[in-house]
Protein backbone atom coordinates (compact mmCIF):
# COMPACT_ATOMS: atom_id res chain seq x y z
CA UNK A 1 0.00 0.00 0.00
CA UNK A 2 2.49 2.61 1.18
CA UNK A 3 6.11 2.25 2.21
CA UNK A 4 6.19 3.84 5.66
CA UNK A 5 9.98 4.46 5.62
CA UNK A 6 9.81 6.53 2.44
CA UNK A 7 6.62 8.22 3.60
CA UNK A 8 8.36 9.35 6.81
CA UNK A 9 11.49 10.36 4.92
CA UNK A 10 9.32 12.64 2.77
CA UNK A 11 7.30 13.82 5.75
CA UNK A 12 10.35 15.00 7.67
CA UNK A 13 11.69 16.99 4.70
CA UNK A 14 9.75 19.82 6.31
CA UNK A 15 12.49 20.04 8.97
CA UNK A 16 15.30 20.81 6.48
CA UNK A 17 17.00 24.21 6.24
CA UNK A 18 15.39 24.93 2.88
CA UNK A 19 11.95 23.89 4.06
CA UNK A 20 8.95 26.00 3.05
CA UNK A 21 7.42 25.53 6.54
CA UNK A 22 7.90 29.15 7.67
CA UNK A 23 6.56 30.62 4.43
CA UNK A 24 3.68 28.18 4.27
CA UNK A 25 2.72 28.77 7.90
CA UNK A 26 2.90 32.58 7.56
CA UNK A 27 0.66 32.50 4.50
CA UNK A 28 -1.95 30.22 6.04
CA UNK A 29 -1.96 32.14 9.36
CA UNK A 30 -3.01 35.16 7.26
CA UNK A 31 -5.62 33.00 5.45
CA UNK A 32 -6.99 31.70 8.79
CA UNK A 33 -7.34 35.25 10.09
CA UNK A 34 -8.99 36.34 6.85
CA UNK A 35 -11.48 33.45 7.04
CA UNK A 36 -12.49 34.48 10.53
CA UNK A 37 -12.91 38.12 9.52
CA UNK A 38 -15.29 37.23 6.66
CA UNK A 39 -17.45 35.01 8.86
CA UNK A 40 -16.28 31.41 8.36
CA UNK A 41 -16.32 29.25 11.47
CA UNK A 42 -13.36 27.08 12.53
CA UNK A 43 -14.73 23.91 10.92
CA UNK A 44 -15.30 25.67 7.59
CA UNK A 45 -11.81 27.19 7.74
CA UNK A 46 -10.16 23.79 8.32
CA UNK A 47 -12.39 22.18 5.69
CA UNK A 48 -11.40 24.87 3.16
CA UNK A 49 -7.63 24.56 3.66
CA UNK A 50 -7.77 20.76 3.78
CA UNK A 51 -9.81 20.44 0.58
CA UNK A 52 -8.37 23.29 -1.45
CA UNK A 53 -4.76 23.51 -0.24
CA UNK A 54 -3.83 26.33 -2.61
CA UNK A 55 -3.35 29.79 -1.21
CA UNK A 56 -4.27 32.02 -4.18
CA UNK A 57 -7.46 30.00 -4.69
CA UNK A 58 -8.44 30.42 -1.03
CA UNK A 59 -7.81 34.15 -1.29
CA UNK A 60 -10.00 34.41 -4.41
CA UNK A 61 -12.75 32.44 -2.64
CA UNK A 62 -12.63 34.76 0.37
CA UNK A 63 -12.81 37.87 -1.81
CA UNK A 64 -15.64 36.40 -3.88
CA UNK A 65 -17.59 35.63 -0.70
CA UNK A 66 -17.16 39.23 0.46
CA UNK A 67 -18.65 40.63 -2.76
CA UNK A 68 -21.33 37.91 -2.86
CA UNK A 69 -20.22 36.34 -6.15
CA UNK A 70 -22.15 33.38 -7.57
CA UNK A 71 -20.88 29.80 -7.25
CA UNK A 72 -20.14 29.69 -10.97
CA UNK A 73 -18.09 32.88 -10.73
CA UNK A 74 -16.15 31.46 -7.78
CA UNK A 75 -15.52 28.22 -9.67
CA UNK A 76 -14.12 29.96 -12.77
CA UNK A 77 -12.10 32.57 -10.86
CA UNK A 78 -10.47 29.85 -8.74
CA UNK A 79 -9.97 27.56 -11.74
CA UNK A 80 -8.18 30.33 -13.62
CA UNK A 81 -5.84 31.25 -10.78
CA UNK A 82 -5.15 27.61 -9.87
CA UNK A 83 -4.74 26.36 -13.45
CA UNK A 84 -0.98 26.58 -12.83
CA UNK A 85 -1.40 23.27 -10.98
CA UNK A 86 -1.99 21.55 -14.34
CA UNK A 87 1.49 22.08 -15.86
CA UNK A 88 2.98 21.56 -12.38
CA UNK A 89 1.32 18.13 -12.11
CA UNK A 90 2.28 17.18 -15.68
CA UNK A 91 5.89 18.14 -15.02
CA UNK A 92 6.07 16.18 -11.76
CA UNK A 93 4.11 12.94 -12.06
CA UNK A 94 6.16 11.31 -14.85
CA UNK A 95 9.05 11.44 -12.33
CA UNK A 96 6.99 9.49 -9.79
CA UNK A 97 5.48 6.74 -11.94
CA UNK A 98 6.32 3.10 -11.35
CA UNK A 99 4.45 0.04 -12.58
CA UNK A 100 4.13 -1.36 -9.05
CA UNK A 101 1.99 1.58 -7.87
CA UNK A 102 -1.80 1.42 -8.33
CA UNK A 103 -3.29 4.09 -10.62
CA UNK A 104 -5.79 5.29 -8.01
CA UNK A 105 -2.92 6.28 -5.72
CA UNK A 106 -1.77 8.88 -8.26
CA UNK A 107 -5.22 10.45 -8.37
CA UNK A 108 -5.27 10.72 -4.58
CA UNK A 109 -1.64 11.86 -4.34
CA UNK A 110 -2.19 14.69 -6.83
CA UNK A 111 -4.16 16.56 -4.15
CA UNK A 112 -0.78 17.43 -2.61
CA UNK A 113 0.38 19.33 -5.70
CA UNK A 114 1.11 22.85 -4.47
CA UNK A 115 4.10 25.11 -5.01
CA UNK A 116 5.82 24.27 -1.70
CA UNK A 117 5.67 20.45 -1.96
CA UNK A 118 6.30 20.55 -5.73
CA UNK A 119 9.53 22.50 -5.30
CA UNK A 120 10.79 20.12 -2.57
CA UNK A 121 10.06 17.12 -4.77
CA UNK A 122 11.71 18.68 -7.84
CA UNK A 123 14.86 19.21 -5.77
CA UNK A 124 14.92 15.75 -4.15
CA UNK A 125 13.41 13.18 -6.53
CA UNK A 126 16.76 11.97 -7.86
CA UNK A 127 17.84 10.89 -4.39
CA UNK A 128 14.80 8.59 -3.99
CA UNK A 129 14.52 5.11 -5.52
CA UNK A 130 11.97 5.29 -8.35
CA UNK A 131 9.75 2.55 -6.92
CA UNK A 132 9.15 4.56 -3.75
CA UNK A 133 9.02 8.11 -5.12
CA UNK A 134 5.22 8.23 -4.90
CA UNK A 135 5.30 7.21 -1.21
CA UNK A 136 7.98 9.82 -0.57
CA UNK A 137 5.83 12.41 -2.38
CA UNK A 138 2.79 11.53 -0.26
CA UNK A 139 4.96 12.10 2.83
CA UNK A 140 6.13 15.50 1.55
CA UNK A 141 2.57 16.48 0.67
CA UNK A 142 1.09 15.28 3.97
CA UNK A 143 3.58 17.31 6.02
CA UNK A 144 2.98 20.47 3.97
CA UNK A 145 -0.78 20.05 4.17
CA UNK A 146 -0.51 19.50 7.95
CA UNK A 147 1.45 22.75 8.34
CA UNK A 148 -1.17 24.56 6.23
CA UNK A 149 -4.10 23.23 8.29
CA UNK A 150 -2.41 23.91 11.64
CA UNK A 151 -1.46 27.43 10.54
CA UNK A 152 -5.05 28.11 9.42
CA UNK A 153 -6.31 27.05 12.88
CA UNK A 154 -3.68 29.21 14.58
CA UNK A 155 -4.47 32.19 12.32
CA UNK A 156 -8.19 31.79 13.00
CA UNK A 157 -7.70 31.94 16.78
CA UNK A 158 -5.20 34.82 16.84
CA UNK A 159 -7.09 36.87 14.24
CA UNK A 160 -8.27 39.40 16.82
CA UNK A 161 -4.71 40.07 17.94
CA UNK A 162 -3.26 40.66 14.46
CA UNK A 163 -2.91 44.30 13.43
CA UNK A 164 -3.12 45.42 9.80
CA UNK A 165 0.67 45.77 9.63
CA UNK A 166 1.18 42.26 10.98
CA UNK A 167 -1.22 40.86 8.37
CA UNK A 168 0.74 42.65 5.63
CA UNK A 169 3.99 41.28 7.11
CA UNK A 170 2.62 37.72 7.06
CA UNK A 171 1.28 38.07 3.53
CA UNK A 172 4.67 38.98 1.99
CA UNK A 173 6.55 35.94 3.43
CA UNK A 174 5.20 33.41 0.96
CA UNK A 175 5.91 35.41 -2.23
CA UNK A 176 9.40 36.27 -0.95
CA UNK A 177 10.17 32.61 -0.20
CA UNK A 178 8.95 31.48 -3.63
CA UNK A 179 10.83 34.29 -5.39
CA UNK A 180 14.04 33.04 -3.72
CA UNK A 181 13.26 29.44 -4.71
CA UNK A 182 12.51 30.42 -8.31
CA UNK A 183 15.72 32.46 -8.58
CA UNK A 184 17.57 29.48 -7.07
CA UNK A 185 16.08 27.20 -9.78
CA UNK A 186 17.55 29.31 -12.61
CA UNK A 187 20.35 26.86 -13.39
CA UNK A 188 19.96 26.47 -17.18
CA UNK A 189 19.13 28.90 -20.00
CA UNK A 190 15.71 27.26 -20.31
CA UNK A 191 14.85 27.63 -16.61
CA UNK A 192 16.27 31.16 -16.36
CA UNK A 193 14.28 32.30 -19.39
CA UNK A 194 11.13 30.56 -18.13
CA UNK A 195 11.34 32.48 -14.84
CA UNK A 196 12.41 35.87 -16.27
CA UNK A 197 10.02 35.85 -19.25
CA UNK A 198 7.21 34.54 -17.04
CA UNK A 199 7.48 37.57 -14.78
CA UNK A 200 7.83 40.05 -17.66
CA UNK A 201 4.86 38.65 -19.56
CA UNK A 202 2.96 38.40 -16.29
CA UNK A 203 3.12 42.19 -15.94
CA UNK A 204 2.43 42.83 -19.63
CA UNK A 205 -0.59 40.53 -19.90
CA UNK A 206 -2.09 41.88 -16.70
CA UNK A 207 -2.87 45.11 -18.57
CA UNK A 208 -4.64 43.13 -21.30
CA UNK A 209 -6.57 40.69 -19.09
CA UNK A 210 -6.07 40.46 -15.30
CA UNK A 211 -8.08 37.19 -15.20
CA UNK A 212 -6.16 35.37 -17.92
CA UNK A 213 -2.70 36.95 -17.43
CA UNK A 214 -1.22 34.04 -15.44
CA UNK A 215 -2.23 31.43 -18.01
CA UNK A 216 -1.37 33.51 -21.09
CA UNK A 217 2.00 34.58 -19.77
CA UNK A 218 2.85 31.07 -18.56
CA UNK A 219 2.04 29.63 -21.98
CA UNK A 220 3.84 32.32 -23.99
CA UNK A 221 6.92 32.62 -21.77
CA UNK A 222 7.22 28.87 -21.17
CA UNK A 223 6.99 28.06 -24.89
CA UNK A 224 9.53 30.76 -25.80
CA UNK A 225 11.91 29.57 -23.04
CA UNK A 226 11.55 25.97 -24.24
CA UNK A 227 12.44 26.77 -27.87
CA UNK A 228 15.33 29.11 -27.02
CA UNK A 229 16.64 26.53 -24.54
CA UNK A 230 16.40 23.72 -27.12
CA UNK A 231 18.25 25.82 -29.71
CA UNK A 232 21.01 26.48 -27.18
CA UNK A 233 21.28 22.92 -25.85
CA UNK A 234 19.15 23.76 -22.75
Amino acid sequence: MININYFLKGFFCIKSVNSPAIALAAGFIAIGALFKSIGLNIQESIFSTFLTYAMPGSLIMAESLIVGASLLNIFFAVWLVNARLYPMTVSLFPLLTHKSQPRLKYYLACHFVAVSAWLIMKENYKSVERKYRLDYWIGVGASNLSVAVLATIFGFFIADYLSKDMMIGLAIVNPVYFTCVMVGAMKTIQMSLAVILGSLFGILFYFISPEWCILFSGLTAGTLAFFVGELNGN
Binding site: T52, W79, C110, F178, I214
Partner: protein, 107 residues
Protein backbone atom coordinates in the same frame (compact mmCIF):
# COMPACT_ATOMS: atom_id res chain seq x y z
CA UNK B 1 -23.16 37.07 2.32
CA UNK B 2 -25.26 35.71 -0.54
CA UNK B 3 -23.40 32.49 -1.30
CA UNK B 4 -23.52 29.48 1.02
CA UNK B 5 -20.03 29.09 2.52
CA UNK B 6 -19.90 25.28 2.37
CA UNK B 7 -20.94 25.29 -1.30
CA UNK B 8 -18.33 27.98 -2.04
CA UNK B 9 -15.64 25.82 -0.38
CA UNK B 10 -16.76 22.80 -2.42
CA UNK B 11 -16.72 24.85 -5.66
CA UNK B 12 -13.22 26.13 -4.82
CA UNK B 13 -11.95 22.62 -4.03
CA UNK B 14 -13.45 21.17 -7.19
CA UNK B 15 -11.99 23.95 -9.35
CA UNK B 16 -8.57 23.32 -7.79
CA UNK B 17 -8.66 19.52 -7.96
CA UNK B 18 -9.72 19.62 -11.64
CA UNK B 19 -6.29 20.96 -12.69
CA UNK B 20 -4.49 18.37 -10.58
CA UNK B 21 -6.67 15.52 -11.89
CA UNK B 22 -6.22 16.56 -15.54
CA UNK B 23 -2.48 16.83 -14.87
CA UNK B 24 -2.29 13.19 -13.75
CA UNK B 25 -4.34 12.07 -16.77
CA UNK B 26 -2.10 13.96 -19.21
CA UNK B 27 1.11 12.70 -17.64
CA UNK B 28 0.04 9.04 -17.80
CA UNK B 29 2.19 8.01 -20.77
CA UNK B 30 4.70 10.84 -20.65
CA UNK B 31 8.41 10.07 -20.35
CA UNK B 32 10.60 12.30 -18.24
CA UNK B 33 13.21 12.85 -20.95
CA UNK B 34 10.72 13.66 -23.70
CA UNK B 35 10.48 17.12 -25.30
CA UNK B 36 6.87 17.53 -24.20
CA UNK B 37 7.85 16.92 -20.58
CA UNK B 38 10.53 19.63 -20.84
CA UNK B 39 7.99 21.98 -22.40
CA UNK B 40 5.55 21.41 -19.54
CA UNK B 41 8.39 22.02 -17.08
CA UNK B 42 9.01 25.43 -18.71
CA UNK B 43 5.27 26.17 -18.64
CA UNK B 44 5.13 25.33 -14.93
CA UNK B 45 8.02 27.62 -14.00
CA UNK B 46 6.75 30.48 -16.22
CA UNK B 47 3.24 30.20 -14.81
CA UNK B 48 4.56 30.26 -11.24
CA UNK B 49 6.72 33.22 -12.06
CA UNK B 50 3.73 35.09 -13.53
CA UNK B 51 1.69 34.26 -10.43
CA UNK B 52 4.44 35.63 -8.14
CA UNK B 53 4.64 38.87 -10.10
CA UNK B 54 0.89 39.21 -9.88
CA UNK B 55 0.93 38.69 -6.09
CA UNK B 56 3.79 41.18 -5.57
CA UNK B 57 2.92 43.89 -8.10
CA UNK B 58 -0.86 43.55 -8.40
CA UNK B 59 -1.82 41.98 -5.05
CA UNK B 60 -5.19 41.09 -3.58
CA UNK B 61 -6.00 40.88 0.14
CA UNK B 62 -3.78 42.30 2.90
CA UNK B 63 -0.81 43.09 0.62
CA UNK B 64 -2.88 45.55 -1.41
CA UNK B 65 -2.87 47.86 1.64
CA UNK B 66 0.94 48.23 1.38
CA UNK B 67 2.44 50.55 -1.24
CA UNK B 68 4.01 49.27 -4.44
CA UNK B 69 7.34 50.80 -3.41
CA UNK B 70 7.39 49.03 -0.03
CA UNK B 71 6.54 45.62 -1.57
CA UNK B 72 9.20 45.86 -4.27
CA UNK B 73 11.81 47.17 -1.80
CA UNK B 74 11.19 44.23 0.56
CA UNK B 75 11.38 41.62 -2.23
CA UNK B 76 14.59 43.05 -3.71
CA UNK B 77 16.25 43.43 -0.30
CA UNK B 78 15.32 39.85 0.64
CA UNK B 79 16.74 38.56 -2.63
CA UNK B 80 19.95 40.39 -1.73
CA UNK B 81 19.95 38.66 1.70
CA UNK B 82 19.29 35.32 -0.02
CA UNK B 83 22.50 35.67 -2.04
CA UNK B 84 24.57 37.17 0.80
CA UNK B 85 23.73 34.21 3.07
CA UNK B 86 24.65 31.60 0.43
CA UNK B 87 21.09 30.87 -0.71
CA UNK B 88 19.71 30.21 2.75
CA UNK B 89 15.88 30.52 2.74
CA UNK B 90 15.31 31.23 6.43
CA UNK B 91 16.94 34.69 6.66
CA UNK B 92 15.08 36.29 3.73
CA UNK B 93 11.68 34.88 4.78
CA UNK B 94 11.97 36.03 8.40
CA UNK B 95 13.39 39.41 7.34
CA UNK B 96 10.57 39.94 4.83
CA UNK B 97 7.82 39.74 7.48
CA UNK B 98 9.54 42.15 9.89
CA UNK B 99 10.60 44.57 7.16
CA UNK B 100 7.20 44.61 5.48
CA UNK B 101 5.36 45.22 8.75
CA UNK B 102 7.68 48.14 9.52
CA UNK B 103 7.78 49.63 6.02
CA UNK B 104 4.07 49.39 5.23
CA UNK B 105 3.43 52.39 7.50
CA UNK B 106 6.19 54.59 6.12
CA UNK B 107 6.75 53.84 2.43
Amino acid sequence: MVTNIVLAILATSLATYTSRFLGVMTSKKMRENSKIFKWFNCLAYSTLSALLVRIIIFPAGALSDASYLSRVTVVLFCLFIFFIFKRNFVYPTVTSAIMMALLSEHL
